[in-house]
Amino acid sequence: MRRPSFLILSALAAGPLHGYAVIKEVVRLSDDQVHLAAGTLYAALERLTDEGLVEVDREETVDGRPRRYYRLTEPGAAALAAEAAQMRRDARLATQRLRGAGPAPSPA
């Protein structure tokens, strides 16, 4: 799973959000490192919807602008959990190997 998809699913894990709220939440979750462009967000949302990981929750109109809220589906939550578990295992593995290798020699 690519990082933007992972972050979008993570953003939706807490509850349904509309497009702009997803962008803001992704910025917050990534410590200001990932700024999704709207075109990228909607391409990703469409792909995740096609894969059955995300679905439309409801539609509203705020200040004359239509807003569609998206939520995580059960398979989406499962995919996110599996990805998080995989990342945890990878991180543990890397940490163990670094610990075993000891500190890297400083350049002469």
Binding site: G19, Y20, I23, A37, A38, G39, T40, Y42, R65
Partner: protein
């Protein structure tokens, strides 16, 4: 437009302007997608854009264009994408050739005459001069020349020759500088001198080139150094210079050719999806035939155009820039003309009426 534009604009006006501009960029997406998601995407874009802006940020524009075109490609199908890509290459190369050819049509079809070459030779060459007739071809429109295969330019525009005498005892580089000075004194522009000192044991041991333009003419003077057996010589080739409109016409031709190629590929592929498998196979065959017929001319045009560009840098032997050489060498020309047949056939297929679904007669009971 300046960055400060929009500072005194009311918020509503600015937002409406920004929305209109976003809507324009959304045209990159297919119509169905725009209808379904356009208002929502524009709402998100307006929310995400910094307040005070009346123009979309470049980053958003790039992403909208990229995802929009990608979406179109997905909808049109892989075949449309392949056809459009090939059509863009062929269209671009054909457009470059056509633009250059149209530009050169403003130039006299005949190469400069010998009398003019003699007059120019007397003006810019030191010592007694003579006119030496024509070299290569006499006109631009005869596509075949003896240098087609070896000169690197594909098409060599004709030239008229003039000759002169190197003053006794003068070195070849001094003579070249004297020619350059005379050219400048007589109002020639873009005067360039190239001096090549060769191996003293070769003949000639050194060559100098001087080129310049005036009144649409390109004069190329070559001075060969003397050696043990031969005296120093100086010769003039007088050709037509590239027309001033050529860079713009060539660029515009390339861009228009690419756009027409892409549109032709996408539209015809989309249109052919209405037809049955047999017609679609015919369409694929016609596309392949067009590709095969146009490829020799287009690919031959790449080295000739490159050679032309080099000639533009060193405007001595290879002559002035022409970008349509690939279309007129070997058998490429008749093949390129023949390619119009499958192209027209594709158009006819696209305009062919859509097959009616077969109806089953039913009897009311």
């Amino acid at each position: 437009m300046t960055p400060t534009e929009g500072i005194h604009m009311p918020d509503d006006t600015r937002t409406a302007l920004l929305a209109r501009r976003y809507r324009r960029w959304l045209l990159a997406y297919p119509r169905g997608y725009r209808r379904e998601r356009g208002p929502e995407i524009i709402g998100t874009l307006l929310d995400a854009t910094d307040p005070g802006r009346s123009r979309p940020p470049a980053r958003e524009v790039v992403h909208l264009l990229g995802h929009g075109v990608g979406r179109r490609a997905v909808e049109a199908g892989r075949r449309a994408f392949v056809v459009a890509a090939f059509a863009a290459v062929l269209g671009g190369l054909s457009g470059i050739a056509l633009g250059s050819w149209l530009s050169w049509r403003t130039v006299d079809t005949m190469a400069p005459d010998s009398a003019t070459a003699g007059r120019v030779a007397r003006q810019i060459l030191p010592g007694p001069t003579d006119s030496g007739g024509h070299f290569g071809r006499h006109t631009f429109w005869n596509p075949y020349s003896e240098h087609t295969l070896h000169g690197g330019t594909g098409v060599r525009a004709g030239s008229a020759e003039g000759g002169g005498t190197v003053p006794h005892g003068a070195r070849y580089d001094e003579t070249a500088r004297a020619v350059a000075a005379r050219m400048r004194a007589h109002g020639w522009h873009d005067v360039h001198t190239t001096i090549e000192a060769l191996d003293p044991n070769t003949s000639p041991p050194g060559i100098a080139y001087v080129t310049g333009t005036r009144d649409g003419y390109l004069a190329a003077v070559e001075v060969d150094a003397a050696d043990g057996d031969n005296p120093a010589t100086v010769g003039l080739d007088l050709m037509w210079a590239e027309p001033a409109s050529q860079p713009a016409a060539t660029t515009a031709g390339g861009v228009v050719g690419i756009l027409i190629g892409v549109l032709f590929g996408l539209l015809t592929s989309k249109r052919m999806r209405r037809h049955g498998r047999g017609m679609q196979r015919t369409y694929s065959g016609l596309c392949l035939a067009t590709l095969l017929l146009l490829t020799p001319a287009c690919f031959a045009n790449i080295p000739t155009a490159t050679g032309s560009l080099m000639a533009n840098t060193y405007r001595n032997h290879p002559g002035p820039s022409v970008y349509w050489g690939g279309f007129v060498i070997y058998g490429a020309e008749p093949l390129a003309i023949l390619s119009l047949v499958p192209i027209l056939a594709v158009v006819v297929l696209c305009l062919w009426p859509r097959p009616q679904p077969s109806r089953t007669l039913t009897t009311a009971t």
